[in-house]
Amino acid sequence: MAFDTFMFILMSGILLGGLYALMATGLAVVWTTLGVFNFAHGAFVTLGAYVAWQVTQPVAGGFGFMIAVLMSVTVMFCLGFVLHFALIKPFERNQNVVLLAVISTLAAASIIENGVLLTWGPRDKQITPPIGSRINFFGASINAFDFVILAVALLALFALALFLRRTTMGRTLRAAAQNREAAELMGLDVPRLFAITLGISAATAALAGIFVGSLRFINPSFGADPLMKSLIVVILGGVARFTSPIYAAFVVGIAESFSAYFLGLYWSPALLFAMMIAVLLIKPEGLFGHRSKTL
């Protein structure tokens, strides 16, 4: 294998890893804070991409890429905030909350997906990337925009980590995640904090959706794949630390791009799922960490 091919595969794996890290962190934040898996995460990715696409269209004013990103992230934050009260809050005290949340978020995913289908139709769409030029990277020709995406994704994650660790709001979120009862006794409005968490998760999903949508085509059901990949990443990495799913995302991204090259497109998802089952069997707490969950 030529070096430039290797670099190309590696770079596309790292780019995938960056996107997966963005999606999986959103999922992991909800899992560690609310204690449920959000199966509407993929639908958030889809809807975020469509909102951004709509904003860039002439009919909506034809705003630039940056405005589209801001609009989409804001809209999705609000949606996530509201959906907490509809999907998870009603049975947060129920002992079957995990199962009930799976069911309600799956149903919400179906509603969002079909709503997108009704609103924007089944045809593929693409968000025009703001930078079209290609650069030569160790012999491999790579989109300059890919680097931007990777940088922005990592920056966004870094900003989220700073927010969670250094700001009062971030600390209250972590407090609510670590010990809900104690947080409530300290006077924190835990349902609102949980809603904010779901909002943040939806916002990161939207960002990821916009990036995916400017790399590939978007259609109403394209969120299913990001959802599955995020699940794999979160399980592989575990949620012991904020960074655990991020490492795992790069492992999965690189593994996926190499296996797609060597094993073919059909077998690489099968390989990832087999990896996930194996990790669950051997080390259910994930590759990078302990069984406890913290932010």
Binding site: V98, I103, M228, Y266
Partner: protein, 619 residues
């Protein structure tokens, strides 16, 4: 001991027979192909959802790979019958082998896992299965699937001919077999082990239920009929495509399960008609249909988690309450002369804070005796005592709310020991009964104890057919002989057979000998039974025991040695002995209701106790 009568003795027999007969005759009325197609889909989804309930509802194993069993059945049929060229019937019948194999493979990773991890592994397993199916396009047709699968024929008769008549009956047969299988399984020892693991895992394990083996068995058994349904689906539509792994199938099957109600076989069957019928009606609306189904799922989960089956129980219960209340109203008027003859006095309705009660009062006499009847009975059980004692005492007997000719009351507030004791207190005040002697039978015995424990003054207290309880529920199996009767006593709905059983056991007499009492069981509000038993745990039992053991209250137990329910050794413990009788007084030859079966010796013993109690100085 779990009470599990055979199916033909339950309330379910008649509705099931009617629906089954209707489904058999339905093709005579519905000849149109599309309507029959919808019904065939209903059968398939009903099989899928009700078998899913075995793992999800009964087993508590959230298996999101259930549709994988269906998909395996479908593809196994397709490959065996089309690619390999086996006989379609043989192919169909061996599809469960493959699905069960997959279930075993699936069970191995999730034996150790809990909660969300089970969900994730099963979702991943389905995805893995889908990837394998899609990637092996030379056998499975890849993403485009397989078409023109062999169809089913019986001796040259195509099941699809006559507007799919054959497929209709085959689907119905499959559903019937699956339901029979699930019904039998749920009530078998395996079924109980499955439920025990769900309800209290560590207790079940400590009693010898193997968690790993039971999970394996649960998943394997829940794979059999979905695989057959998958094979049948393939033979019927003649198409096998990877769509079966998609969200569409999953959400419909899930909504059938949830709408019907988790852990009820019948719920899934009812919901299959509703959901599949609805989704076939909305088939032209595309995306709106999926949104509607998703909204149904969310609203059921959020608003009414019990599902349709619970709703039907509620409706049936409301109907039953209205019926029993109507019977009581009717009898209060039309049966008054007969009751007056039996009791020697007419009954009157007295309002209390816990509903109106029908009271018999002989009015004359300085000392009052209050008789409190038991569960699902009525005041007329005491008619022999009223006759024998009315010359010397003022005798008062009343129907508890929801019993006899008293109207029904509020199930939440009025059907419990404290409310019943409160009713007695209000009657004492209203009718000016002074310091009464109280006699309580069975459940009424606890009411009597509760009345005294609440601090109400009395002259003497006697209970019959009641085991004193120190700690609930630990003492219940000690004080009573475990029998199906215990289950019946707290059961909301009785089938006619169960009503007969209950009446015979409690009063020890046959129908013709005691028509009024026999009717009382039929009339009793099911909620009264259910609530009185459900709320036993809220009673302060220790307080009742201190009543028995206090030397201030003249107390005695009078029992029948042939009582089939109470444990006589337990009742004869010295801690329940009193100065009047170290052991319970036994009425020779009598059962649960000695005052009714052997009134003369009972009344003699009762009188002797009253005289002894009255001779004590009143402090």
């Amino acid at each position: 001991m779990k009470y599990a009568p055979p199916f033909q003795r339950t309330n379910g027999l008649l509705p099931v027979l009617v629906v089954f007969a209707a489904l058999i005759l339905l093709p005579l009325v519905i000849t149109e192909t599309y309507a029959r197609h919808t019904l065939i889909l209903v059968f398939i989804y009903a099989v899928l959802a009700s078998n899913w309930d075995l793992s999800l509802g009964y087993g508590g194993i959230v298996n999101f790979a259930h549709l994988g069993f269906f998909a395996i059945g479908l593809y196994a049929y397709a490959i065996l019958a089309k690619v390999i060229g086996l006989d379609p019937w043989v192919s169909l019948l061996i599809t469960p082998l493959f699905a069960v194999t997959f279930a075993v493979l699936l069970a191995i990773p999730i034996l150790r896992l809990e909660g969300i991890y089970v969900i994730l592994v099963t979702i991943a397993a389905t995805q893995l299965l889908q990837q394998i199916v899609v990637s092996q396009s030379s056998y499975t047709g890849g993403t485009s699937g397989m078409v023109l699968l062999p169809r089913l024929e019986i001796a040259g008769y195509k099941l699809s001919s006559d507007n799919r008549l054959g497929y209709y009956y085959f689907g119905l047969a499959l559903l019937t077999a699956s339901t029979f299988f699930l019904y039998k399984l749920e009530r078998s020892s395996i079924g109980r082990a499955i439920k025990a693991l769900r309800d209290n895992k560590y207790y079940a394990i400590s009693r010898g239920v193997s968690e790993a083996r039971t999970r394996l068995v649960t998943l394997s058994l829940s794979a059999i009929f979905p695989a057959l349904a998958g094979g049948f689906y393939g033979a019927y539509l003649r198409v096998a495509s990877p769509d079966v792994f998609g969200l569409g199938f999953l959400t419909i099957a899930l909504s059938v399960l949830l709408l019907g109600g988790v852990a009820t076989i019948w719920g899934s069957l009812i919901a299959a008609f509703v959901v599949v019928g609805l989704s076939q009606l909305l088939v032209d609306y595309g995306a709106w249909r999926n949104i509607a189904i998703a909204l149904v799922i969310i609203s059921v989960v959020v608003v009414y988690p019990g599902g349709l089956y619970a709703a039907m129980q509620e409706i049936w219960s409301g109907f039953d309450r209205a019926k029993t209340n109507l019977i009581a109203t009717f009898r209060r008027k039309s049966g008054a002369p007969a009751r007056a003859r039996a009791m020697g006095t007419t009954d009157q309705l007295v309002e209390t804070s816990h509903g109106a009660v029908s009271v018999c009062d002989t009015h004359s006499g300085a000392q009052t005796i209050i008789f409190i009847h038991g569960n699902s009975s009525c005041k007329e059980v005491f008619r022999h005592q009223l006759e024998a004692l009315r010359d010397q005492f003022r005798c008062v007997a009343f129907d508890l709310p929801g019993h006899g000719v008293s109207p029904n009351a509020d199930p939440d507030k009025d059907y419990n020991l404290a409310a019943y004791a409160q009713i007695v207190a209000e009657l004492v005040e209203r009718l000016k009964l002074g310091r009464p002697i109280i006699f309580g039978w069975s459940l009424g015995g606890y009411v009597a104890l509760e009345y005294v424990a609440a601090g109400n003054p009395i002259t003497a207290l006697a209970i019959c057919g009641t085991s004193p309880v120190r700690t609930y529920p630990d003492d219940m199996p000690k004080g009573y002989i475990p029998s199906p009767h215990m289950e019946l006593a707290g059961k909301r709905f009785h089938s006619p057979h169960e009503k007969g059983q209950y009446a015979t056991h409690t009063i020890g007499l046959q129908k013709d000998a005691e028509p009024i009492l026999w009717q009382a069981v039929w009339r009793t509000d099911g909620h009264a039974r259910e609530q009185a038993f459900a709320k036993l745990k809220t009673t302060d039992w220790q307080r009742q025991i201190s009543v028995i053991q206090s030397k201030d209250v003249p107390f005695v137990m009078i029992n029948g040695p042939n009582d089939p329910f109470i444990n006589h050794t337990y009742c004869a413990r010295s801690e329940f002995g009193t100065p009047f009788s170290a052991h319970p007084i036994l009425i020779e030859g009598a059962g649960h209701a000695p005052f009714l079966e052997d009134p003369k010796p009972f009344t003699q013993e009762f009188l002797r106790f009253i005289r002894a109690a009255q001779s004590l100085p009143v402090e």
